[in-house]
Subunit: 366 residues, 2 copies
DNA sequence: TCATCCAATGTTTACGTAAACAGGAGCGAC
DNA sequence: GTCGCTCCTGTTTACGTAAACATTGGATGA
């Protein structure tokens, strides 16, 4: 027994009358405005709703004539598949959840954008789940919400390793890919080749004849920052150079400025590798204010290659990150896992390259 | 990879038959891993699934003891409400769609972040729908996808007026709020007070004694750019000043640089109002390169107050936009409409304020 | 004392879709 | 001719939830 058996739309078929009436049986006071369902389309097209379903999903075994009729009926009624019902039936939402701390760092934003575009190409939507407070609890809460949410997979963009697996329970079929973390043993990780990039930066400065390279590092909690710092240390060690003390910021231009004031006072500091471009911007300002010319007195290399970097004073030499590629790999990874492939935990590294502008110059003869 | 939500807790039931068998008739080879449903919880708690539903939704008419029992059963089984079924039943997704062109302008990003946070507070999720190509077709496609998607309302962040209502068909119950557009006659619009902000900037420069103010405008397609430009013109006219020819960029620092090279050549240009901070950054660079000092020779005011503005060379005087407030208002607006309130089309304006830093100074005596 | 009402819980049903199965028509092989 | 196959379409059913309605048991009031 399925709803009302009588079909008023029969009248509408030939006459081209507005399809408004659809399934709303009771003449309206409250305007129930139910959506157009497959059943409505089926009735109008004179087929079963299963056939409508087949047309809707591009199933091959529908003969051209029938398909045509169904499509016309869909159009006439303004049919839209109901994603809730579809998801309930199929268990798939065609949606990927993205969980992140903040949109105030360029890296996160660029990655997110790339993910969104890449997912859209594959017919997937993105559901954003910001974590208000970067604590174990906050992360746990976000995962819980995402767990109840309509997603097939999750991409985690996190700088801090708060992914305590014990506290996270996800629906059994939800897949995870992580950006920027050391969770490689538990999850599939996609990331920029931080180590390679940092080596590029340090190598460049050493090749210019600087006796050593200082480092303006990112916050301690960030794995990207940790890796860049470690790689800087390694690159120096490989060349038997002493590593000067690390100066630390929090990614912001403001923190770079404060760190810069400190560095500007050191006569022996002639080359700085900043862990991101925003801090490099602050650093440039501090050096300028203290009368140290860039690049004549001090050479500076950044990391990220944000679009503004070319407009800094002077234009910044920096390590270019391919965020678009990172986003694409993330989406590919999740979709592959969703598709059922066993993607082993481990890291995918996206290479970087050095973009030389005007903030670096050969060391002066001493 | 661990994380299964499936629970073997049948043993814990204590009483008779393990509830494991649930509804999956076929004994498993393929590990059907169905989720835990209300029926499973109900069986374990010894109540009907409707009671579980009531507990799940905080319905009052469940006595404390029963509620307790149900909650315990939920926890034991790791029950998660199925959002697809819930949405199918209730017609509500608790999700807001956000449709935008790009994440490369600060304004969009900041607004998006505010929207996401604000929505999360209200228990709503955000689904992102980027528009790949900013054309009628692209926008239409995005709306179509969003229409099939699981959203209760839509927030449109668009700089270009491509909202041709005729081409957009949304499900009847989906509500729309628009940021940055002239669609105020058709939709509910939330926006920064562009006019007030531009007045603030021009007023500030005129008060410093500059005889007129030049304008580095945003792209013609953008309504924000159009409004700021018009307001600049009005503010000058109000003071009987002649408006110099407009120089135009595309919001990027690079375009600001190119425009700046042009302006630097004009001896009579002593004050510039840039339509955003990124272009102001490029402008500063061009002026510096051409030997025109800021603020001694030329005063510059930006718009947005991005976090980096304080680290420009020199620190930029700019008009502060309260993106957080814009985001909050957007979410409030959509939720109000979803809640059934008739929100009349029209604009909500969020005020701005001028942040004075070091890029402006009194005009020199001539 | 019994009709009435309310509070707590159970039962039925529909939401829109798509998998699984069923039937019938056409067609080639024997 | 008929068996068996393939191709197209229809019928039945289940997905998990929650509204609507039904039922129970006690308390209230006349």
């Amino acid at each position: 027994m399925i709803r009302e058996g009588q079909a008023p739309p029969a009248a509408a078929v030939g006459s081209g009358a507005p399809p408004a009436g659809t399934a709303t049986g009771e003449a309206g006071q409250a305007r129930p405005r139910r959506g157009v369902s497959m059943a409505d389309v089926a009735r109008l097209a004179g087929v079963s709703s299963q056939t409508v379903s087949r047309v809707s999903n591009g199933h091959p075994s529908v003969v051209a004539g029938t398909r045509e009729r169904v499509l016309r009926a869909m159009k006439q009624l303004g049919y839209r598949p109901n994603s809730a019902a579809r998801a309930l039936r199929s268990g798939r939402f065609r949606t990927i959840g993205v969980i992140l701390f903040t949109l105030s760092t360029t890296g996160n934003v660029r990655t997110l954008e790339a993910i969104a575009v890449s997912a859209a190409e594959k017919g997937y939507a993105i559901t954003l789940q910001p974590v208000a407070v970067p604590t174990q609890t906050g992360v746990h809460g976000a995962f819980t919400r995402l767990g109840e949410l309509a997603v097939d997979g999750i991409i985690v963009i996190m700088e801090v390793n708060l992914l305590d697996a014990a506290t996270i329970t996800l629906p059994p079929h939800v897949q995870v890919v992580v950006v920027d973390s050391d969770a490689g043993d538990r999850y599939s990780v996609v990331d920029t080749d931080q180590v390679g990039g940092a080596h590029l930066a340090v190598r460049h400065l050493l090749d210019l004849g600087h006796s050593t390279v200082w480092h303006l590092a990112g916050p301690e909690g960030s794995f990207a920052a940790q890796r860049r710092e470690q790689a800087w240390r390694d690159a120096l060690a490989r060349d038997w150079r002493a590593a000067p003390p690390v100066v630390r910021g929090d990614w912001s231009a403001e923190s770079g400025y404060r760190a810069g004031l400190e560095l500007a006072g050191r006569e022996d500091c002639t080359a700085v590798f900043a862990a991101n471009d925003q801090m490099a911007l602050g650093l440039l300002r501090a050096l300028r204010e203290r009368g140290r010319r860039v690049p004549q007195d001090v050479s500076v290399v950044g990391f990220d290659d944000i679009p503004e970097a070319a407009s800094f004073a002077p234009p910044l030499t920096t390590v270019h990150q391919d965020f678009a590629e990172v986003g694409r790999r993330c989406v590919d990874g999740v979709l592959r896992e969703i598709g059922g492939a066993e993607v082993p935990p481990g890291a995918v590294l996206v290479p970087t390259r050095l973009v030389e502008r005007s903030s670096t110059a050969p060391a002066r003869r001493r």
